[in-house]
Amino acid sequence: MSFINFIKNTCSKLGNNNKSIYPMIAIASANGICRPTFTMLKKGENPESKKYAALRELLTEVIAVPTYWVSGELMAKLGKQIASRATDIKIQKLEAQGQKLTEKVKTDMKSSAVKKGQAGLMLIGVCTAAGLIIPALCSVAVKPVMNKISPKKGLDIKENAVTPPAVLIPQQQITRPAFKNITQSGMKVGGV
């Protein structure tokens, strides 16, 4: 019964204010558990390499979770300030035009604008984190951390870096010998 009540409360809170950081944090946390587990479950690979790859994936998600949270919340704060100032300017303009606005209307206008501004900028923050900040942080932080943790310093430590298959490795071109006209040679084949 209490579990049902917990779900009901969660639904009510989410319905009232769903932040775009919630699904991102949930996905990153699940990835932090699932991706290393899948890597460790792979068959036919060197156990040391598996451990290394799983640790690297775990580190990436460990970096991702707080980054989503911090960038989303910071951008939301910025959105609050921008929307609040913009509404103040709008109210001043309306009052200068001769419109009389009650305190309640002003408060409603402000709270509505702030909510929208926060939501919009939080999404931008989360997308920036996903597309720029997290890959940049990973390329800076994962390498030194992995070097300290793992004894295999020579291994590939770049995010997503994969050794290309043989087909991509440039091979030396075979130089064919120059073709000589058959009539110039001293031998004839087939008696013609």
């Binding site: 049902i4 779900i7 009901k8 969660t10 639904c11 009510s12 809170k13 989410l14 319905g15 009232n16 769903n18 775009s20 919630y22 699904p23 991102m24 949930a26 996905i27 699940a30 990835n31 558990i33 699932c34 991706r35 959105g79 921008i82 929307a83 100032r85 913009a86 509404t87 300017i89 409603d108 509505s112 604008a113 929208k116 501004g117 939501a119 919009g120 900028l121 999404l123 931008i124 989360v126 997308c127 996903a130 597309g131 720029l132 890959p135 940049a136 390329s139 770049k158 995010e159 997503n160 870096a161 994969v162 050794t163 290309p164 298959p165 043989a166 087909v167 991509l168 490795i169 440039p170």
Partner: protein
Amino acid sequence: MISAISKAVSNPTLVNVAQNTDASVICKTTVNAIGRPGFILIDSNIDENTKKFAATKEFLYQATCLAVYMAVIVPIFKKGGFKFAKEKIFKNTEGFEHFKNFKEYTHYRKLADNINVNNRLQTLNKEISDKNCKVKDMYNETLIAELNKEKPEKFNSVKGAVDLSNIIGSVVGLALVAPQVSQALIHPVLRFVGLEKKEDKSIDTKA
């Protein structure tokens, strides 16, 4: 200047995407599909061939995640989440009794979000549903009475239930299903594009 920024940031489409779980996940995965391969390509520490291969692989992985999420996870969890919450958790209470599906609720919520009561009612009177009848006729008395109020009830639990279901769907889709599907798809595609060599499984019988 600040008004222009505020207007851009409070854009209704952007706000709708931000408050909608599946839309924001789609947005984030799209950014990932562009950003991650981009970062690999600009990395100067990797050689050209590795970069090309890794960037293509990463792009394919993110694209598969996006496709699986949009095609399978969103419809299942959106419809299923509403039905499950309506029948099992809320048992037709707390607003669920007024709506047959989430589409109906979304329509009501859009109207309820409109601050002006007159605008709200005018829109409702004008709109015609897919079945060639007025949308107003599909609303029950309770909903119409709510829309006449200055601050109508928004039945947050209904939206929250679908959002929670979408979050669970996102986790299942992007952390469990999509990686497995992409594992099966990526290598054939890479081989087709010519970035991966076909595995040679023939056994040397001459020995």
